[in-house]
């Protein structure tokens, strides 16, 4: 029995690498949120008229709301397939702390959605006529904000994954919790475009990230145990 003691970091890296590998093999799940993000953002210039002043005013909100919706659409992939094929039972029954395993899954989810959304956001910013000197702040807010979206989202998915049609319920549960991130993220970009100081918003986004980083894996684990009962 002595060979069986592995530490939690091994469990984290195993799950993280497993989920990254799975994401690479399910290309559509990887590409869909990105395609959704690009399409929604590019609908606005078409609908609003090509008046670049108008676009400029709505650009931060458009980018942030689109990123938020794209993340929300991808959330189910954190636990859905594991729930359906029975892997989740095995993970819950593993002797490793469940929050560590859940954290590995969330981290992989962020790398395959939030991080990619962040990386393509400057290109979309340009398409909304954002000045190039403000693209940096857009990157920063998304870099601080999207992990929080994945973390909070994981709690909602853990609660609804056992339901056959959890999609709408998930949106109703999660979107209100996303409001603070949206407010600070979008307003930071907006204020930077008006040449105002944005350190406060960035600190608040970082604080929200720290808070969800420490609490969400535990909450999601507890929710998973209830879901699997």
């Amino acid at each position: 029995m002595e060979a069986i003691q592995t530490n939690a970091i091994d469990a984290f890296t195993t799950i993280f690498r497993r989920d990254l590998k799975l994401a690479m093999r399910r290309r559509s799940e990887l590409v869909n949120p990105l395609a959704f993000f690009v399409i929604v953002v590019s609908l606005f210039p078409l609908g609003l008229s090509a008046d670049s002043n108008m676009l400029l005013r709505v650009a931060p909100a458009v980018l942030w709301i689109s990123a938020l919706l794209a993340t929300m659409l991808s959330l189910e992939s954190i636990f859905r397939s594991d729930y359906e094929d029975g892997s989740l039972e095995q993970l819950v029954l593993s002797h490793h702390p469940l929050p560590v395993i859940v954290f590995g899954k969330i981290a992989a989810h962020w790398c395959t959605t939030g991080l990619l959304l962040t990386l393509i956001s400057p290109a979309l910013g340009i398409s909304l006529a954002m000045p190039t000197e403000n693209l940096g702040i857009l990157l920063w807010t998304l870099l601080l904000g999207t992990p929080t979206l994945s973390l909070i989202g994981s709690i909602g998915v853990a609660l609804t994954v056992g339901l056959r049609r959890g999609g709408i319920l998930l949106a109703l549960l999660i979107l209100p919790l996303y409001i603070p991130i949206l407010i600070f993220g979008a307003s930071a970009v907006d204020m930077a475009m008006h040449k105002l100081e944005v350190a406060g918003q960035l600190y608040l986004l970082a604080a929200l990230l720290a808070l969800s980083l420490t609490l969400a894996p535990f909450a999601a684990s507890a929710a998973l145990r209830v879901t699997l009962e």
Partner: protein, 217 residues
Amino acid sequence: MAAQPETRVESPRLVVDAVKGARGDRVLFEDLSFALHDGQLLHITGPNGSGKTTLLRVLCGLLAPLEGVVRWRGQDIRSSVSRHRLESTYVGHRDGLKAELTAFENLQIVARLCGCPDGEGIDDSLRLLGLWEQQDIMVGHLSAGQRRRLALGRLILKPALLWILDEPFTAIDVAGREIIEAQLIRHLEDDGIVVLTSHQALVHSKLRDHCVTVSLQ
């Protein structure tokens, strides 16, 4: 563990004490008690919907019993979780395999999570399960019986004392069944404990020697 005198302590390893289980609002079994010693096999029988899977989920700790306790080494499995988790392996009704990973990669993850060193353990189990040639095939392309065999590979990889198996022989052919029964016998002879549900009677006479039956209505 300090050296203990060889007096076989006759306290049973797994005790189920007045357990009540339900699915939704429907009570499936009530006041169910039994005890299992090392080297025993428990065959849970009963018609569809009689609560066999529910009982297994209670035994592995996924589901809390409505009443009563399940004790492993004398301790409630809901309060002292880690020991029971470390020493038991559950193969459920669903295989717990990822369709987008190969047979080898699936076992590799099982091995890493239970802390077994990589390499030969996986190769051995693939050979034993008759899946050596299929090791680089995506699990999604394997047949149901082959997936079932692979799912049972976690029994071989993880050195656990208690095996909890939900319909292990589903979709498995005669040769596969023989392989699995041989593993069960070996495990029981090593003083392991097996709890399983199966609609088919156990074929091997050695298994029947170790077997206790609980029937659910």
